[in-house]
Amino acid sequence: MPSDVTTALGRLLTEPALRGQWRRDPAAVARALEADVASLDPDELEHQAETLLEKRFHEAAKLLPRTMAALGGRAERLFRDHAARYWPEGHRRHADDAIAFGRGLLERRLPHSRSELNRLRFAMGDDRFSLGFVDDAWVGGRARRALQILYRRRGAVRSLALYLGM
């Protein structure tokens, strides 16, 4: 039945532990999922799951380039940890994904770009104006502490950074 296969595939593609069980005993997992997924090719399934994650990471990296640069070699592993716990929904999913990832970094006090995250959150919200202190505003070719001012003009997000010389 397509309904069973679609739902079962969704779980197999998003739950690494379930894929592990399926690799060990595909018939048992297929019975548990009540779907005809026992005959899938293990490598193909893994490639498909990997592709979904790669695409999410790629889109998040486009939205948070400075954050990813700040994380360096840890960026992909940290994103995968985040991605295993959270699947965004809807047409704003890439931005929601990037914001949730950034929020997790903030909470865990891991490297991130506060000004970049502020800008993305502002862009996805409805506020017309936002103010906040950041320590990584890009001023004069380097990151500085500044007052970040975000606003909308003709539908586009604009930002100003008032450099305080601190």
Binding site: S3, T7, L9, R11, D36, L40, Q48, G90, R92, R93
Partner: protein, 263 residues
């Protein structure tokens, strides 16, 4: 009937597109990119170009009703665009539990044909436009009774829709799953193919990908020519999403596709 060659609308290309270069004969807009935007932007594009509206998130292969909010938003973009065709994928992006965010294959069975056809007819009824369904690239193949070309032929018949044939997706699948793409094309009912997507494929680690990041390679021009010799294709869209080249480079690619048309 004049065939149209154009590009997928991307913000990076907006200035070039607004200048109405001779090489761009039509545009494809991605519906989801305009869900949160003022639709006057779509109406402005419509004034300058024939449009195709392409969907990513209707998830026609998901059993159960189509997500109402997504269909309403899609229909609003269609109304503003007044397109030649509306398009989506013969695939699913969502299940009842999770939004996977990207395209996944449906089993090539008669049940899937019925499900996709029912959903495609619902979208056509809602939008009042003819619809084309696109073949996807997928690392994963599902078992089913029907070879993919027969599955797509039956789907077009059952839904009363046409085919948006993605040449790169076909090529990528043919490499990853080891089949002859020319034979695949020959098995497709020619009258079904109304639009093409073309973009270069990517290869890494012995796997082929539809990254939408490369110039069109010679093998893809050959496959495009084969399709155009057989089918009444109305539009050919270059679908770059990454490494978007300078306008002159893209213009040269469009001219090369025009030359394929002329053959």
């Amino acid at each position: 009937m004049r065939r149209l060659v154009g590009v997928g609308y991307r913000r990076e290309l907006a200035r070039w597109i607004a200048a109405r270069p001779a090489e761009i004969g039509c545009l494809e807009i991605t519906a989801e990119h305009f869900f949160d935007r003022d639709l006057d932007a779509v109406r402005a594009l419509r004034r300058d170009y024939p449009l195709f509206v392409h969907g990513l998130g209707l998830s026609l292969g998901t059993p159960g009703p189509i997500d109402r909010a997504t269909l309403d938003a899609y229909a609003r973009v269609v109304e503003a665009a007044d397109p030649l065709y509306i398009t989506e994928h013969a695939a699913f992006t969502r299940t009842r539990d999770v939004d996977l965010g990207h395209l996944n294959p449906v089993a090539p069975t008669l049940e899937s044909v019925r499900l996709l056809a029912d959903h495609a007819r619902e979208v056509m009824d809602r939008c009042g436009r003819p619809m084309l369904l696109e073949n996807i690239a997928s690392h994963l193949r599902l078992r089913g009774a029907l070879p993919e070309p027969e599955f797509l032929n039956r789907l077009c018949d059952a839904a009363g829709c046409g085919l948006l044939l993605d040449v790169a997706n076909l090529y990528v699948n043919s490499r990853n799953h080891r089949f002859d793409p020319a034979a695949w094309i020959d098995a497709i009912e020619p009258r079904n193919v109304a639009q093409l997507h073309v973009v270069g494929y990517s290869e890494r680690g012995g796997r082929w990908h539809d990254a939408h990041a490369e110039p069109i390679q010679a093998e893809l021009f050959d496959l495009t020519r084969r399709i155009l010799e057989r089918s009444p294709v109305r539009g050919v869209i270059v679908e770059r999403d990454e490494n978007i080249p300078a306008p002159e480079e893209l213009a040269a690619e469009l001219s090369a596709l025009e030359a394929v048309h002329a053959v």
